[in-house]
């Protein structure tokens, strides 16, 4: 059960006051009622909510993911971007944890020539390594740059919400390791799940809503931490993606 439910409204107000901002959804679309509607099927629809206000950029998630999923050095399923803003002394730093958005309208699946990558019915977009031929079309098609070619396996790889852990009843590695519970994982179809309740209580947003991919990874507080905010790149002193010089694509 959510330990934040009780006073989240108050907190939200205090947070806005601190930020001195009026709008809460400049970069993202507010989630529609459909996404959190009552469950009509028995299958869940998995999603993640990331509260960037609680993220301290410690990279526990990044390393947990690397360890759990044997991600090769230089490649990333999950990472945290640092966004520095402002001028001295009104400077700030915000953190944007990144992973596959598990889109409801995924761009990656439709371009796959072998149907190796698909949404498996519970919201998770997976890759069948037996079918993947490593053509990398999906890597190019993904607007979020979350896929990579794994030179060790010869196939494309990306976040699958730690599907193996889920099968064993465990949370994704990044969620389980987070000291501050900045990541909440759960069933979006279950109105009583912690993630559904938090989404209902907060103004949440997704990355790049204009791509109309309907991500199932939601964020609280990305209005000030969205590197995809193409409208104002000068907004940032520096964006550190923590993906190293040689690792993207």
């Amino acid at each position: 059960m959510s330990k934040y439910t009780g006073d989240s409204k108050v907190t939200r107000r205090a947070f806005l006051k601190n930020l001195g901002q009026a709008s809460v959804a400049v970069a993202g679309a507010v989630v529609s009622g459909e996404a959190v509607g009552a469950a009509v099927e028995r299958k869940p629809r998995y999603g993640m909510l990331i509260d960037t206000r609680k993220c301290v950029g410690c990279h526990a998630c990044s390393i947990a993911c690397r360890s759990e999923n044997n991600v090769p050095e230089g490649k990333h399923r999950s990472w945290v971007e640092y966004l520095e803003q402002g001028t001295y002394p009104d400077a700030s730093i915000h953190f944007l944890p990144r992973l596959c958005n598990q889109c409801s309208i995924p761009r990656c699946t439709s371009v796959c020539p072998t149907d190796a990558t698909y949404e498996r019915g519970d919201g998770i977009v997976v890759i069948d390594p037996e079918l993947c031929i490593g053509c990398k079309y999906c890597i190019v098609a993904c607007p979020y740059d979350v896929r990579f070619f794994n030179p060790h396996t010869g196939v494309v790889d990306k976040c699958d919400f730690c599907a193996d852990r889920l099968a064993e009843g465990m949370e994704p590695a990044c969620v389980a390791t987070c000291f501050n519970r900045a990541r909440i994982f759960g069933d979006l179809k279950d109105a009583n799940s912690q993630i559904s309740q938090l989404i209902a209580e907060h103004s949440v947003a997704v990355l790049m809503p204009e791509k109309e991919t309907e991500p199932n990874v939601f964020y609280i507080g990305i209005e000030y931490a969205n590197e995809q905010d193409a409208a104002a790149p000068e907004h940032y002193v520096r964006v550190t993606r923590h993906r190293g010089p040689a690792e993207t694509r």
């Binding site: 934040y4 006073d7 108050v10 907190t11 205090a14 206000r53 609680k54 301290v56 950029g57 410690c58 990279h59 526990a60 990044s62 390393i63 947990a64 690397r66 360890s67 759990e68 050095e73 230089g74 520095e84 402002g86 001028t87 001295y88 002394p89 009104d90 400077a91 700030s92 730093i93 915000h94 590695a173 389980a176 390791t177 987070c178 000291f179 501050n180 002193v237 520096r238 923590h242 190293g244």
Partner: protein, 687 residues
């Protein structure tokens, strides 16, 4: 991986560690573990690990080694120690180590051998905080951050330098609407999550004194608490009279109006205020006196022994004592005079690192010290003025380092003995101080890799050889004739759980007991100070020649130079894991943080290589131009610039802060003062 010892569960397949997860039952870490904890696998399987004993085959520090068997290495170490003991006595040995569960065995070996010359971790870290707090209120209090309304941190960086449970509670408190104010010349992540007060470095005491001035002058202090639980208010009132907010503004660069507002807001939030003690207090030459002002400020606010305030926790679970049968015998006095007379208020058993090194280097030691045994410590990186530490090593006839990796210090040794990591051994039982009392057991999840041995096994290998060469008061082989299992059993004897059960459960949590607040307020409990109260005026300090009330002194300023400060990112601990491949990838090379205004003045662009020089040394390092630091301050993350080519991931990248730091220390405790160095930055022309 670090001192917090979060609860972990390890997933092992066919004897190979696959994954480390947090243990949700651990009262402090509650299932979370940080990047370091997750990367423990890479410490275990680090290709750069010391895999077998190594004996130097080239010149010292040249990096030429030959593989040795344990038999040969043990004979080599025992021969050399015996030679030194024969020629100079046991006091001819310097014995240094840092805090961990197994350090006690190494320290005990030194005690049985009979050297007085121990030097441990405290004066590299928190000695000034401890003496400041103990001298004022008889202990370092815990902080009820979870329920606090106002948390004031001086430099403490709990969101990057984790200390359980504060790092977790801080986020909870902020979400609940608590105010967090962080006083720091650099905007750490902690400062970024709260209100950042970019104070002029080394003027923190001016702020605390001015806050006390306002609390007293505006009659905002907690009169009941001050009357019941403190002594010396009249003298304090007189003392802080001149420390006005207007005066403090000139010192601290924090507007007077802001200081007044702060004092009023603190008073309004009291008693649910945490004046956070901090941990690493190795900042300034007046650090103990600065730290004293923190509990004084706390006391004026009555922010003690109440919900959301500071409090004394229940302490640790009382473990059983292993019977060491170490009878007292005559040992020499310390070589460096780190004693009652010279440092009356310091903790002498732990030594004073800077004082020790500089005394020996200056030839002022009371007798020759020619051998150095080092366990789980990296003084070349850890002590200010790294070049001087290397100089001290050059004066030694023999240096032995026990470590898991070829650290900078190991690289300068004559022999390196490979230890097991925390994942390969049974360790003594651990019980942390805290609100929830529990004990944890660290047990091996995989077999020791390569030829590594536990420090107890290493000692047991050396003991009989040393006994053959020297008659010790107690034969060493007898003293260490026990197993780790027997040691653990002795520790667990008073508890209602035995080793077998604890090994299965991993953790034992004591029956819950509510923390009782109010007993200090009511006078039922007294403070462990001479007066039994929180002492604004310390007669003990006065008697020993120190200011009875903390007195401010302005920092030295050279307009064209910047003050160097140091710290860490959340995925590094000291100099321990910068060579861990997974963690290193997050920051392969450290940088010097430079304010944009200063960068512009110096013609430095982000990413340029610059020379940073001080009275102690010079390093070449990449510039990181950021508005998150004051123009008169620069910051370098610690742990880079290794001289050890054995650390193949780290070697050749970044610059070492300790090379730049001048040899300075706190006057009272000899805690090293890492933020007392002014540096000059110049652009490297062709970069």
């Amino acid at each position: 991986m670090c001192v917090n010892k979060c609860g972990i569960q390890c997933h092992v397949v066919d004897g190979v560690l696959q994954k480390i997860d947090g243990d949700p039952r651990n009262p402090k870490s509650a299932g979370g573990i940080c990047a370091k904890g997750q990367a423990g696998i890479m410490a275990l399987y680090d290709p750069d690990r010391v895999k077998h004993p190594m004996i130097r085959s080239g010149a010292r520090g040249e990096g030429k080694w030959r593989r040795a068997s344990w038999e040969e290495a043990n004979a080599y170490v025992a021969d050399n120690l015996a030679k030194i003991i024969k020629k100079y006595g046991p006091e001819g040995l310097l014995w240094s180590s840092s805090t961990d569960l197994t350090e006690q065995f190494f320290v005990k070996l030194g005690k049985y051998i009979g050297t007085p010359n121990f030097v441990r971790h405290a004066t590299l870290c928190l000695a000034s905080r401890n003496v400041g707090y103990f001298g004022t209120m008889g202990g370092v209090p815990d902080s009820d951050i979870r329920n606090s309304k106002y948390i004031l941190m001086f430099g403490a960086n709990r969101l990057e330098s984790f200390e359980l449970p504060y790092n977790i509670e801080l986020i909870t408190a902020i979400e609940r609407g608590a105010k967090l104010v962080v006083v720091d010349p650099r905007q750490t992540v902690t400062a970024a999550k709260g209100e950042w007060l970019p104070i002029r470095p080394r003027t923190d005491m001016a702020l605390t004194l001015a806050l006390m001035h306002v609390l007293i002058e505006e009659d905002l202090y907690d009169k009941t608490f001050v009357a019941d639980a403190t002594t010396g208010l009249a003298a304090l009132r007189e003392h802080v009279k001149l420390y006005t907010p207007q005066w403090a503004e000139k010192e601290t660069d924090i507007p007077a109006g802001k200081i007044v507002t702060m004092a009023r807001e603190l008073a309004a939030a009291a008693p649910s205020v945490v004046i956070f003690p901090g941990r690493r207090s190795s900042w300034y030459t007046n650090d103990t006196q600065f730290r004293r002002t923190l509990p004084m400020l706390m006391a004026l606010l009555g922010a003690f022994d109440a919900p959301g305030a500071s409090f004394f926790n229940r302490g640790k679970v009382q473990l059983g004592e292993f019977d060491w049968e170490l009878e007292p015998f005559d040992i020499a006095e310390r070589v460096d005079g780190f004693d009652e007379e010279r440092f009356p208020l310091a903790h002498h058993g732990d030594g004073g690192y800077v004082h020790l090194r500089d005394t020996l280097l200056a030839g002022r030691g009371k007798y020759p010290v020619k051998g150095w045994m080092i366990y789980k410590q990296n003084p070349v990186a850890a002590v200010a003025d790294g070049n001087a530490t290397v100089e001290l090593m050059k004066t030694m006839d023999f240096i032995c380092v026990i470590d898991i990796q070829p650290s900078q210090t190991a690289w300068m040794a004559d022999v390196i003995l490979p230890e097991t990591t925390y994942l390969e051994r049974l360790d003594p039982i651990w019980s942390p101080s805290g609100s929830v009392q529990y004990v944890g057991i660290r047990q091996p999840v995989v077999k020791p890799q390569f030829e590594s041995r536990t420090v107890l096994e290493i000692i047991q290998g050396l003991a009989p050889l040393l006994d053959k060469k020297h008659q010790f008061e107690t034969p060493l082989a007898d003293a260490f004739d026990f197993t780790m299992e027997q040691f653990v059993d002795a520790q667990l004897a008073p508890l209602p759980i035995d080793r077998e059960q604890l090994s299965k459960d991993g953790i034992w949590i004591a029956p819950p007991e509510n923390t009782i607040l109010g007993e200090y307020r009511s006078g039922k409990k007294t403070f462990k100070t001479p007066s039994g109260k929180i002492e604004f005026v310390s007669e003990r300090f006065r008697r020993n020649g120190y200011d009875a009330l903390p007195t401010y002194e302005s920092p030295k300023v050279e307009p064209e130079k910047q003050r160097l400060v140091t710290g860490r990112f959340a995925w590094f601990t000291h100099s321990a894991n910068q060579n861990n491949r997974w963690l290193n990838a997050l920051l392969p090379e450290n940088t010097v943080w430079i304010n944009p205004e200063l960068a512009k003045r110096k013609g430095i662009k982000d990413g340029d290589y610059v020379n940073v020089s001080s009275s102690a040394g010079r390093v070449k390092i990449k510039a990181y131009v950021t508005p998150r630091i004051r123009p008169d301050t620069v910051y370098i993350t610690h742990g880079f610039g290794t001289n050890s080519a054995g650390q193949t991931t780290l070697f050749g990248k970044g610059g070492a802060d300790q090379i730049l730091m001048a040899s300075k220390a706190d006057a009272i405790t000899n805690n090293q003062a890492l933020h007392e160095t002014l540096v000059e930055i110049t652009r490297i022309a062709d970069s």
